[in-house]
């Protein structure tokens, strides 16, 4: 896939809660086709303590309005700088980067997102709807107040929740949810994104079942285009770049 570098205009910068914000970005040029789980390398301007672009997954795409939406966690100084950006300002993106969850699929699929890992699942679910079926989503949060874009996710799938304190949905993490712990496992594919510990647990849950399990990784990156070889994941095929040969890997290939 051809990669692009463009200055996007910020349509709006919306703070969702103390940890998350949304940047809706408009491109002057027509957007290329973007696949689920692909990401953009976002430039951080005027930040003395940071240097590199930040890899951020694509949360939503609107081809009619030529917009990309990023759901961003305030993780450190780089994302804090981005959170200060105002509508009308420009942000440079290198995109679309990486592979995608396996497509198209006819199997029954469960999309699992934990914390910031929910970000790519909105566009993934929306993308699958174009193929005429409704995915099931399982989204895990700390508590009810942390839940992100509940109505929006509801539009693109059948959504189940877990919260660690039990204030909404089932209590615990996504791993504890009844969908993953029932006798009869109804899904043929599980696609997950979230903290490494969560992804490992999802992989364990599905190991001896007849399930294709793919996870989207978020290793630290420099270039995002397969040049620096910094973001590698150890796999049965050796070190593989998460930026070009990922971010999505089949869990049977990963050596954790």
């Amino acid at each position: 896939m051809k990669k692009y570098i463009n200055d996007f205009e910020i349509v709006y910068n919306l703070r969702l809660n103390k940890d998350y914000f949304i940047l809706k970005l408009m491109c002057e040029d027509e957007l290329p086709a973007i696949l689920p789980a692909q990401f953009a390398e976002v430039k951080i301007e005027d930040s003395a303590s940071t240097f590199l672009r930040r890899p951020i997954s694509i949360h939503d795409v609107n081809y009619d309005k030529n917009t990309i939406t990023l759901l961003i966690r305030l993780a450190g100084q780089g994302t804090s700088k981005l959170a200060e950006k105002k509508s009308g300002e420009l942000v440079s993106l290198v995109y679309p980067l990486g592979n995608s969850f396996s497509l198209p699929i006819q199997d029954k699929v469960l999309l699992i997102g934990g914390g910031c890992g929910v970000a790519p699942m909105l566009y993934t679910a929306k993308y699958f709807m174009q193929f005429g079926f409704m995915p099931t989503l399982l989204l895990g949060y700390r508590d009810k107040e942390s839940i992100l874009r509940k109505e929006k996710f509801g539009k693109y799938g059948n959504v189940f929740y877990t919260t660690e304190d039990g204030s909404f949905g089932e209590k615990g993490t996504v791993i504890d949810h009844s969908l993953l712990n029932s006798e009869v496992f109804e899904f043929k594919r599980i696609y997950a994104c979230g903290p490494e510990a969560m992804l490992k647990n999802v992989a364990d849950k599905t190991r001896n079942k007849n399930v294709v399990c793919e996870v989207s990784l978020e290793n630290m990156m420099a270039c995002g285009i397969g040049a620096c070889l910094c973001c590698v994941q150890n796999t049965v095929n050796g070190h593989r770049c998460v930026c070009t040969e990922g971010p999505v890997f089949n869990t049977k290939d990963i050596i954790w």
């Binding site: 003395a48 290793n219 040049a227 590698v232």
Partner: protein
Amino acid sequence: MVNLAIDFNGLKLKNPVLTASGTFGYGLEFADFVDLNKLGGFIVKGTTLKHREGNPYPRMAETASGMLNAVGLQNKGVDVFCNDIYPQIRNYKTNIIVNVSGSTIDEYVKTAERINQLENINAIELNISCPNVKEGGMAFGTSCTAAAEVIKAVRNVYHKHLMVKLSPNVTDIVSIAKTAEDNGADSVSLINTLLGMAIDIKTRKPKLSTITGGLSGPAIKPVAIRMVWQVAKAIRIPVCGIGGIMNADDAIEFILAGASCIQIGTANFIDPRTTTSVINGIELYCLKNGIKNINEIIGMI
């Protein structure tokens, strides 16, 4: 019109802008962003005799105005380069230079022999300065005796332009540069990364799996310029300047300090089009300052 062409001791560059090994893949990774034919040349990823997996993750840490890396020369080995990669890049109309590394002199020599057979590879950059491998690498570049041995051995089997990439992690870089010159190098490139280290105070562990790594980016630029200036004054073969160049102004600084050409490295990660904008910026600088030929300002300081 400004003449940006450089005769780099026999290596004909259409302009002084090259790319630093390890930051530009095999060029192909940048083909969506840069017209590779417009570059003075590109230097491909460090190549060794045998396939290398490199160091475990994490191998990168961001720092103020720079980054540490400890990739450890991950590459598929010289045979894969010659058979699979070279055919894809050989027809670009620019200088393609292979960065060669090894753990032993024999590995350097065997790799250089293979590269010598490739018609469209115009030069080798001999990497005696990688700080991220346990054996070889920087060990060859931090002692004059070891440097002399490996350069002489490669010189015997490699018949085109031999550039030697120098480590800044030495007491006296000038003596290593003179050693390179005395043992048949056609040019030197400097600086490779500075050995550095960073610690995560939350986990109280080093940020890199290897504990130490190589620092690059604008943070190292003043050190690099000083070393280029010292070396360029002391040797007759030309110098290729490397170290934190982000834009044309930085490149001009290196040229004024004595670099006949420069390499763009870490900046490629921040803006993949940097090489193109540096070439355009150098031309603009010359136009504005009445410089008809870039050679006029090399080593003015």
